[in-house]
Symmetry: C2
Subunit: 249 residues, 2 copies
């Protein structure tokens, strides 16, 4: 496996600092490098914000950027880990891909997806960020968002992806009212032609909605005629179970 010596050394320095603040000479000793090399590595890491000098001291300690890099890893990983078995079950029951997303501003960030054995499937959106108004999970987020935030979104023209994308504010507001009543929402050919999806909200212990579960599939077979309500209830139940697991954790 390829290696970059400076990267190896940099992380050795970071590990040396994991125990608490130490000076340049101590870092050099622990990572077995000349002081000038250790000093240069520390200075470069400080530029990146992953280490910092203790205020009023010459010693170095780990910096805020380590924490902010990790910040996106822990909660998402925890949510993915706890939701994954529920998504597996949901995908099996419904027979289409089940996914998980979190709210990120006015964007839906997909963080996990469980496929089915179908040969024809919708591509994996994990890692993708899609516009909030155009996907079912996004409309779930909007339905649980402060009205002032919805107003801010609707103050700008919305992008149309298909002829069925809701871009008129009145139409979208009416949709959101329905989501608030029903608890779930179907999106039919709204983000991409030939893709249908249904989403439901995941609430945290405080009742806030910043995650959602969805099932999606190719429009020609999903949903099966007359199965909309049943599928919606499966997604609602899955979302409720994930919400319940969040509260227990």
């Amino acid at each position: 496996m390829s290696r970059v010596q400076s990267i190896e050394r940099a992380f050795a320095v970071l590990s040396a600092l994991a125990d608490g603040p130490i000076g340049v000479t101590e870092v050099a000793d622990r990572v077995e490098l000349p002081k000038s090399t250790a000093a240069r590595l520390l200075a470069s890491l400080a530029r990146e914000g992953v280490v910092e000098q203790v205020p009023g001291d010459t010693r170095y300690r780990l910096g805020a950027r380590i924490v902010s890099l990790a910040a996106g890893v822990v909660p998402t990983r925890r949510l993915v880990a706890l939701a994954r078995p529920v998504l597996v079950e949901l995908a099996s029951e419904v027979g289409e891909a089940a996914g998980l997303s979190v709210l990120d501003g006015f964007v839906v960030h997909y963080i996990d997806q469980v496929e089915t054995a179908h040969q024809v499937l919708v591509r994996d959106w994990t890692g993708s960020r899609l516009p909030i108004h155009a996907v079912s999970s996004g409309q779930v987020f909007l339905a649980h968002m402060a009205p002032s935030a919805v107003d801010r979104l609707l103050a700008e023209p919305l992008e149309r992806f298909t002829p069925r994308t809701l871009v008129e504010p009145a139409a979208l507001r009416e949709r959101l009212r329905r989501v608030q009543l029903d608890g779930y929402v179907w999106g039919l050919d709204e983000f991409a032609e030939g893709i249908n999806s249904v989403a439901a909200p995941i609430a945290d212990a405080a009742g806030n909605v910043s995650a959602a579960v969805h099932v999606h599939g190719p429009a020609y077979r999903f949903p099966q005629a007359g199965a909309e309500m049943e599928i919606a209830h499966e997604v609602l139940a899955a979302a409720a179970r994930i919400s319940g697991r969040l509260r227990q954790g």
Copy 2:
């Protein structure tokens, strides 16, 4: 300020991954580097465990080591920040250095210390890890530890640091019983000749003890004759205030 190009590039790559898993080509695009360079940086970061390939996929994501590097930063920082004003006051009242430590296996990890204006003082132990049986904070941790864990410690010979270090299991167990009754403990010349200290436990919201406050000083002046009880109560009160602050947070 000095810079190491490879370190800058490495952290640019890590930031690109902060949004979620992406492939080599996407990383290269985002950080504006040739694919072979991006691939080598990713491979090197993978060796360090700070990135990893998504299982069953060629895409990369942030890895566990980022999380473990950050892990020591957040709780310790919070505890230090919240305890610091109490330590300042305690040091002022008692007239000797006051310190804070956390339990780390069978080792006491010192994470903060407030000095006094004395010309003669005990050196700052912040960042140090000292053996649990030989220091007062360590004996506080042992007194609140599961008996099975204490048994595991005592199954191995304990290291003697001074003639007064408690190394006989029966003697240490007796000491721990006293700590359980009194709530605090004095350590007189047990870890280092000429150093005395008194410690008390900090309990979290669940009542678990994994942090402690102590005051220490040179044995020739600390504690003043007849002041042992008063000083111990000051330390107990300080520990209780920190415990209270933990519960509020």
